[in-house]
């Protein structure tokens, strides 16, 4: 039994302590409320952002690449819908089973299957695994029919690059392929727009115009849960397609160039001599760029790479060749301009010429006899030009050649694979090789052999500038591109005396249209198509005495040792508008191999000329 007083003391104590604790409780609850206030009122914005960051995720879709169009607006590089099959490994319950089912349905080879498995192990489980990137409609629909059994497999219609003209434009446009690490590192734009499987330009204009062509990503915004599963789509921002790039190329002429060079190694370019527009530019052999869009197989790649005709090389821009006799118009012009020779200057050709203790052979063993400038050009007499070169000297020749566009990139930085060529001079040799120029080297430079090297596009530009009366032009392959970029020295005369240009033009005319001209057989008599040209036959190998005695036919010589055949021309002669250059690697003589191609080419070019002009006028009228 507890006493009353004891109870009272107890109660006294307990009440005091209740009071102390209650005060503590109020303070602590106040603390919690202030914490809530801090989180929910003061820091609310910050946490709201974090919460949105949690729940909202954006997906970038591949941008749609801009098109390439030819002069007439035909699409030469566009896009098509490709049927693809994607798997996100994370979303598949039994990956082995699913991938085996897919293998059966698509009839994948074991090699391809191993490759997919390897790739699956490399990527993160939530990343997309592209099982097939370009399925036929038949296989695509077969997959769709089996979807009930293939959890997590996604048939996708994707947009991919398409080159409808296949190998015709490869060397101009280049090709696209999957972006690799290096591409991403080097180009900020690609880095920003990168999505797995993004295709980017690897060579050619596809690469040069990457930033214009690439386009913007479409962006999908989804609400996702903690596991990254998409719950609902919140927004979709449609990305803009890349810009369209218009070229000056006429597809019909380009295709003809491709046909003419079929089974040959070589190059054809056609240029408008006033505007500098490149109407056709082809290097043969070419290859189908569509093969690269989805990754080329190792076998196909080796086939292209090891082809002795070098399909990967753009011969028009990166092929450095000795110009051979096609340099003669420049040699003649330079000599006339510098007053070294007059049109009446005559040299007797004996088939060979002894100078400085060396024998220099003319291509015609029995000799041409007495030659003046026009005859020497017409028959491409080497002896004459040895003598002219000797009198002219290499430095003056080099000046004229450079003025007419040789030894310098024609398109500037447009094509990263374009080569400079080489126009030698005494100072060049001193700087580059550290040796003094030898007179004998001047002599062979006069017939376009020795150090001198030019690209087919440079020869074409040279011809164009002779054809237009000796005025400077800037070749271009991109249409509507010269606003604000009009070069000041466009159409400035490159000659001292316009008569000299005329003389060279006439000499070239005689070479094609007069009896005994080197390309006489390829002439067109109809003045509408009549053209003037100059052949060139370039030795690949020094001709030995033995060779000279054997005098083998082209087909009897091993392929690699055969001469390169060259031809430059402009037409129509009466009212020139186009210049061409043709190169057939290891083709034989310029007159027999290259010039006949020009005949077919000029027919087409002149026929198309009217169409081109009408189209252009109509375009301006439409505006």
């Amino acid at each position: 039994m507890l006493s009353q007083s004891d109870n009272a003391v107890k109660l006294n104590s307990i009440n005091r302590r209740v009071f102390i604790l209650s005060a503590a409780k109020i303070i602590i609850f106040g603390g919690i409320i202030s914490r809530l206030f801090f989180l929910q009122v003061k820091e609310n914005k910050r946490y709201l952002t974090l919460s949105d960051k949690n729940r909202i995720r954006e997906w970038k879709l591949p941008p749609v690449r801009g098109d390439f169009k030819d002069f007439f607006g035909n699409t030469i590089a566009g896009n098509f819908e490709s049927y693809q099959l994607h798997i996100v490994p994370e979303q598949v319950e039994n990956f082995r089973y699913v991938i085996n089912r897919v293998k059966d349905i698509l009839e994948l080879s074991d090699k391809k299957y191993q490759k997919i498995i390897k790739k699956k192990n490399e990527i993160k489980p939530w990343e997309t695994l592209v099982v097939a990137d370009n399925l036929s409609w038949e296989k695509f629909s077969r997959i769709n029919n089996h979807l009930y059994d293939l959890n997590g497999v996604k048939p996708i219609i994707s947009i991919s690059r398409n080159y409808p003209y296949k190998e015709n434009f490869t060397h101009i446009l280049g090709y696209v392929s999957q972006a690799n690490e290096n591409d991403i590192l080097l180009n900020e734009n690609i880095k920003n727009k990168f999505v797995p499987g993004l295709k980017i330009g690897k060579t050619g204009l596809e690469k040069s115009f990457e930033d214009d062509l690439i386009g913007d990503n479409s962006i999908e915004r989804y609400e996702v849960n903690a596991y990254g599963r998409r719950i609902s789509q919140l927004a979709f921002k449609n990305g803009e397609k890349g810009k369209t790039v218009k070229l000056t190329i006429d597809t019909e002429i380009q295709q003809l160039a491709n046909q003419l060079l079929k089974d040959k190694a070589g190059s054809i370019c056609v240029m408008d001599i006033f505007t500098g527009q490149v109407v056709a530019m082809h290097s043969s052999p070419s290859f189908d760029p569509n093969a690269f869009v989805f990754g080329i197989s190792q076998d196909e790649w080796q086939l292209i790479r090891n082809n002795p005709m070098k399909p990967l090389l753009n011969k028009t821009l990166s092929g450095n060749y000795s110009p051979g006799s096609t340099i003669k118009p420049i040699v003649a012009l330079s000599a006339l301009e510098n007053g070294i020779v007059s049109p009446g200057f005559t040299v007797k050709c004996d088939g060979k010429r002894e100078m400085y203790g060396q024998t220099y052979h003319c291509w015609k063993k029995e000799g041409h006899g007495f030659m003046n400038l026009k005859d020497a050009m017409k028959q491409s007499c080497d002896s004459y030009f040895y003598e002219v070169a000797r009198r002219l000297g290499v430095d003056r020749l080099s000046d004229t050649a450079k003025k007419f566009g040789l030894g310098k990139k024609v398109f500037g930085d447009l094509f990263e694979n374009e080569k400079n060529g080489l126009i030698p001079s005494t100072s060049w040799k001193k700087n580059a090789l550290g040796k003094n120029w030898l007179l004998g080297e001047t002599i062979i430079t006069g017939i376009g052999q020795g150090y001198i090297q030019t690209t087919p596009i440079q020869l074409c530009l040279m011809t164009a500038q002779i054809a237009n009366g000796g005025y400077k032009i800037y070749p271009k392959i991109i249409l509507d591109n010269d606003d604000g970029l009009i070069k000041k020295d466009k159409f400035t005369p490159l000659y001292k005396n316009s008569k000299n240009i005329k003389i060279v033009q006439e000499a070239m005319f005689s070479s094609t249209n007069e009896v005994r001209g080197t390309s006489y057989k390829s002439r067109i008599e109809d003045p509408k198509y009549q053209f003037a040209g100059k052949t060139g036959t370039v030795q690949v190998k020094r001709i030995t005495k033995k060779d000279r005695e054997l005098d083998l036919k082209t087909f009897e010589i091993p392929y690699e040792d055969r001469d390169h055949a060259l031809y430059i021309a402009f037409g129509p002669y009466k009212n020139p508008s186009y210049a061409i250059s043709i190169l057939v690697e290891h083709g034989g003589s310029g007159g027999s191999v290259a010039a006949p191609l020009a005949k077919k080419l000029f027919k087409k070019i002149i026929d198309r000329h009217e169409v081109r002009k009408n189209f252009e006028n109509k375009r301006y009228l439409d505006i």
């Binding site: 039994m1 507890l2 004891d6 109870n7 003391v9 107890k10 109660l11 104590s13 307990i14 009440n15 302590r17 209740v18 604790l21 209650s22 409780k25 602590i28 609850f29 919690i32 409320i33 914490r35 809530l36 206030f37 989180l39 929910q40 009122v41 820091e43 609310n44 910050r46 946490y47 709201l48 974090l50 919460s51 949690n54 729940r55 609400e223 996702v224 849960n225 903690a226 596991y227 719950i231």
Partner: protein, 374 residues
Amino acid sequence: MFTLNRLSNNNNFYQKLKELDFILLACILLLGFISLTTMYSTDGGEVLFHTRSHFTKFFIFTSLMLLISFLNIRFWFSIGYVTYIIVIAMLIWTVNFGVTASGSQRWIDLYFINIQPSELMKIFIILCLAKYFHRRKIENVNSFYSVIISLIIIFLPMSLVVIQPDLGTALLISISGIMVLWFAGLNQKYFFYSFLISVLSLPFIISFLKPYQKLRILTFLNPDRDPLGAGYQIIQSKIAVGSGGIFGKGFLKGTQSYLEFLPEKHTDFIFTLFSEEFGFIGSVFLLLIYSIIIYRIIYIGFISRSYFAKLFCYSFGASIFVYIVINMSMVLGMLPIVGSPLPIMSYGGSSMLATMIGFGIVMSAKIHSQQSIA
């Protein structure tokens, strides 16, 4: 005579019904309603397992609470020791034959229901100690003998729970016990010294902790050290609460919850979800309800005649307060993560059962406030 007795008993019932604390009852029912709507929200706006189960439990345990309130407070006094011993026996049983879930052995399988004796201990330790100190004379409270006995009463269940292992509940049990000691009038210097000792020995205690427990403390000190691992829960919880703002994101619109960023949202983190959906206003309202409940419990203690009832009410009120504070501080990132449910709100039968028994005894104390216990 018999009939008269029956009659007076009947009268007695109505009298008792009148004496029922309706404010406390209303608050508990309101809290139940809030917890059910929140549970409905955790189920994604559908009546699924958790909501249904929570409702059933709430219904049964509220009925049980009302039943308890009509039992005489003397009855609870008389079974104070027995229930303690029974729960100790259950804890021993748990240690040997308990059901293991997520790494700790906490439950007894009763075939139709799994029960967590450690939760029940939270309430019965108060009952036991209240009875013990009721019987002690004030001059004996601070005697060596009674201090030792009361410490044994606290340490026995605590150690049985620690080895489960369930550090959070063990802590809450000991706090409940210490609350009784405080109200019983144990010398304040004991509290002061033991607090000092525990602070000083903290480094040693930490060295005895299991790695995951150490990790929790480290994570509490700096949640960003492993935001996707150990710090994930607390970071996501703070984001949820913080993004709620003043008025909340709205009922069923808590993105953190329905997109499954919140872990343990039915149990320990239920307040996070509530706070995300109802904001600062809702959270303060919830705190207000809890405050009223605690106030009523203290008030009932105040008006009770018996020392036992007073001691029980005050201690129980203080314990409820501690549970709330520990739970909320934890989800708001003010304390390391220890498993401690929010009374009534959190999903979990044993916790609710214990809390409801406590409320029942408090109600009984109200009804029988004029009853003195010898």
